[in-house]
Amino acid sequence: MPQFLEHSGTSWKGQKVKHDLSVIDKLDPRLRVIMVTLFAFVTVLSENFFVLGVGVLVGLLLALLAQLNLKRTLRRVIAMDMFMIFLVILLPFTTPGEALFTVAGVSASKAGLLHALMILLKAHAVVLSLLALVGTLSATTLGHALAHLRVPDKLVHLLLFTVRYLDVIGQEYKRMRRAMQARAFVLRTDMHTWRSIGYLIGMLLVHSVERSERIMDAMKCRGYKGRFYLFDDMALGADDYRFMALFIPLLCILVGLNFL
């Protein structure tokens, strides 16, 4: 992952990413999770370029409907691309088959190129729909949606705790890093750097665990008995049915196209 992305996550508050309210935000969170899961299955399991092409278009359309912030989304998509860039570039050269062109004496096969393209399409279709449908939820709401969908209670609580501490620990990390910088610390490729960063992480863990204990105490003092309350009810409304009426047939058509 490239350097310029550093800290884009540590400033995330675990709350709703700031964006303009859109049609997507009117939908029931549970529905959004289920739909994105179904959509991911349909695209990832497909081997048909037409289906995948439509899948990417659907992903783009959802992103538009969700009014995702262009710059931020682009950054995230590029970050994902970084994870597979190797894979995709190498595939044409390592897949046997009819040669299409040659680079430095190594020939690229058509089959490999198509395979690479397929991976690209699938990954982008999924990531766009995911960012649009689920990435626009606040993490807390997502946790509650998962709880309603019968994800084990402990796992949901763990998610909620993680989200709560992300910001606290992120801030703490930043403050400690600044304090190190203020003492003329510069990152280098040497033992001193690694030891210092190791200490930093160890201390961050110790602080974080102790803070987590204090937060737990504070919650107990306010009568916490293992339950979080949320002010938004989850009930399917007219918008949800309208969305389903459009989306489910679309998914069916996409599945059907595979068998043509």
């Binding site: 996550g9 991911a40 597979m84 999924v126 705790f161 690694w194 992480i201 863990l205």
Partner: protein
Amino acid sequence: MHIVDGALAVPVLAVGAALTVAGVAIGLKKMDYDHLPQVGVLSAVFFIASYIHLPIGFSSVHLILNGLIGLALGWAAFPALLVALFLQAVFFGFGGFLVLGVNTVNIALPAVMVYYLCGMGISSSSPKVAAIWGAIGGAGSIVITTVLVAFSLMLSGEAFLLAAKITFVAHIPVMIVEGFVTAAAVLLIRKVKPEFLNIKERCDAV
């Protein structure tokens, strides 16, 4: 280390998902509600570690720290890492959605292995020995993770062989850095809050 959607073969996805479900189930069983904050904190630290870039010559690597997380959590590393990877995938588009199972196994299984392999070592009475085991845990977990990533790729097609090999070689610097960083972190925690690495209990058990 994250693999994206679309790259892996369906059987690999299925096996990954099944293993993750099993691992998470064991982890949740071993973790009681009072442990939740601690596990949540480590999950958050894993998340943040991926933003810490250390320079290596002209390039840079980011930390993964699954070794340290394993040493602290044991089986609970499975749910902790699943949650972190899920949040990364959903909110940042790191990795993918259906490969979540494979990605979790690749990162959490080494964590659990390190817990059993190096747990005794880091509670040694000599700080030097403990640091060495910490380094083995830190570097070792990355070695195992890269091997698992390479395996998941290779099982999905012959054509991925070269990519798998390159992945391994490219991560050698990460292994070195993680080794040193984990060793230092273990040294510090041993001194400052030994109960956090379960060191007391392990000593008593011996």
